[in-house]
């Protein structure tokens, strides 16, 4: 299903001319209203009039996270505060958060984009949406909420936390769709089982929209099996708009359609900053082209992905970004080898019975990087025999060595000892003192 047939299936040529028109307007706007952008453009000797085609995008300077921090809280707003009807902020755990603003039209755009997202997952009027994304400064909760209301679904604004109560409500209210982080979905399943509830049988959920943290294809299979649902990947980030930047379609579930009539995606080489062609992996960069209060120009997400321009079976003409396979700043360099936690996760998920409850401890001993993979023991892999458990440890060590050429240590740990946050799971502890 497609929410906005007209725009989501625009022929490529028409889409590109719309993008160029909107890009020019955005560039004019930030140059005129945001001193930070004016200064950056001037330093680069760039005038808004130099942007004559989409190819000229590469002339625009990048914006990075620290630029947003340096202008805390409202320095990058492009409208006077009286036109801002809402602010949100990133969940920065260290230092000051990144603050973003929305005009009334931005909120409207956002609801439209989340309506597209939910519709792409097959959610419609008549569905009951259990929205476990956190409400508040975090964009997840309210983003999904407004989108669900826009399509006419019934929303349960449960937010995060109080898992047992959530399960009671899921059983009693009979939601048909759920929106939350993938790790919280697994946590919900764990707690439900402990309460004697079978998530596959005792809930009416048909589909889930999962995002706000990287996850893997294996984790998708697991969530789909545990809940007996379709699990759809959605993507967004506070700096760009929140959720609603891109979304998978339920028809293909292969890559997330970027809403290109509002955002222009690019993939760049994270080292050189050079744009990379379709199909090549690199850092994902976004330029917003319709936002009023908080436009971003070539914002470097630090997320690793690639773009696929192939026409999709769903009929959308928007390019698809591959699910995020890591972050440029999460990327661990272990003895010179680039290692993404998500790749280790997919290696673990290949092993029968293992659950994606793991943590990577990176350290440096005698000037040598060490990596320890801690995996929780569950009843499916537990045995009364030491050698059976050692087989699993050896298999993990072997598979990771095969994949990265890096030797690691695998330690089995007791269940529920690896911290499960209600939101994002902490996967890596880097103890190296460099």
């Amino acid at each position: 299903m497609i929410w906005n047939e007209e725009f989501e299936t625009l022929p490529r040529e028409a889409l590109e001319s719309l993008q160029l028109k909107r890009l020019k307007a955005t560039v004019d706007r930030v140059y005129a209203t945001v001193p930070f952008y004016k200064k950056k453009f001037d330093e680069a000797g760039l005038k808004p009039s130099h942007i004559k085609s989409l190819k000229d995008m590469r002339l625009l300077p990048f914006t990075v996270k620290t630029d947003l921090r340096d202008n805390y809280p409202f320095g990058l707003f492009s409208v006077p505060m009286e036109s801002v009807v809402r602010v949100h902020a990133s969940s920065g755990t260290t230092g000051k958060p990144i603050v973003v603003g929305y005009t009334r039209r931005d909120i409207d755009t956002w609801a439209e984009l989340m309506a597209r997202t939910l519709t792409a997952a097959g959610i419609h009027k008549g569905d009951i949406v259990h929205n476990s994304y956190g409400y508040g400064l975090f964009t997840g909760g309210l983003g999904a909420h407004y989108g669900a209301e826009r399509i006419g679904a019934s929303v349960i604004p449960i937010s995060g936390g109080n898992t047992k109560r959530q399960i009671m409500i899921m059983k009693d209210f009979g939601p048909t769709a759920i929106t939350c982080t993938p790790s919280y979905a697994l946590h919900l399943a764990d707690v439900a089982r402990d309460m004697g509830i079978d998530p596959a049988k005792d809930f009416k959920i048909r589909v889930g929209c999962f995002g706000a943290e990287p996850w893997s294809e294996k984790m998708r299979e697991q969530i789909e099996k545990i809940f007996n649902i379709d699990a759809v990947d959605i993507f967004g980030l506070t700096e760009v708009i929140g959720p609603g930047v891109s979304s998978e379609c339920i028809e293909a579930k292969r890559g997330l359609h970027v809403f290109e009539d509002h955002f222009i995606p690019e993939i760049i080489d994270p080292e050189t900053g050079e744009p990379l062609p379709y199909g090549e992996k690199g850092e994902l960069v976004f330029t917003s082209i319709t936002k009023e209060a908080f436009p971003v120009i070539r914002y470097r997400t630090r997320d690793i992905s690639c773009l696929n321009p192939e026409l999709c079976i769903c009929g959308r003409t928007f390019v698809r970004m591959e699910r995020i396979t890591g972050r440029t700043d999460d990327m661990l360099i272990i003895r010179g080898v680039n290692v993404f936690p998500s790749q280790i996760e997919s290696a673990l998920m290949q092993i029968e019975g293992l659950e994606p409850h793991y943590q990577l401890i990176v350290d440096r001993k005698n000037n040598l990087d060490t990596i320890e993979v801690q995996v929780e023991v569950n009843e499916r892999i537990f045995s009364d025999e030491v050698k059976q458990l050692e087989v699993i440890e050896k298999r993990v060590v072997h598979d990771i060595k095969e994949m990265f050429g890096v030797s690691c240590k695998c330690t089995l740990v007791e269940p529920k000892t690896i911290q499960r946050s209600e939101g994002k799971a902490k996967r890596v502890i880097d103890k190296r003192q460099l």
Binding site: V377, N378, E379, F382, S383, D384, E385, V386, L389, E390, T411, L412, V413, E414, P415, K416, T417
Partner: protein
């Protein structure tokens, strides 16, 4: 002829064994026999208790990973070479011992050895035929 044993996964961290004992104790479970196999980072605690269901539930409720396994309890004559004879007998039948541990029966001072074989049924058959006493689960739970 088989006895149910409960195995518990333990991290090699101080206090974990004590925690299992505390959980079982407060559930009113009595331990008949116990052994621990450990490596440098984890251990497997194996126990035989008077109430399996109660013990399993109490441990699961406290987030321990547990499993049930069938083992064989053999009464070993209190004579020199008693165990050696049994092992020789099993070897002849090519039954392998995965692990074993012993405890003393209070009433008779006989040693009872708990065996986990790679073929429990074959072992039971061979031992019974040789006239060796194998204890019923119910008897072991209530020793």
């Amino acid at each position: 002829m088989k006895v149910e044993q409960i195995s518990v996964f333990l991290e090699n961290k101080s206090g974990r064994l004590a925690e299992v004992m505390r959980v079982l104790g407060s559930a009113g479970v009595n331990i008949r026999a116990l052994s621990i196999a450990d490596t440098s980072d984890f251990g497997i605690l194996r126990v035989i208790v008077n109430d399996n269901d109660k013990a399993m539930k109490a441990l699961k409720d406290n987030d321990f990973t547990v499993s049930k396994t069938e083992v064989v309890a053999v009464e070993v004559p209190d004579t020199p070479g008693g165990l050696a004879g049994i092992l020789a007998l099993l070897e002849k039948q090519s039954v392998n011992v995965e692990y074993m541990y012993a405890f003393i029966e209070r009433s008779s001072d006989n040693a009872i050895i708990i065996f986990r074989f790679d073929g429990n049924d074959r072992a039971i058959k061979a031992l019974s035929e040789a006239g060796i006493t194998i204890l019923e689960g119910a008897k072991v739970y209530n020793l």
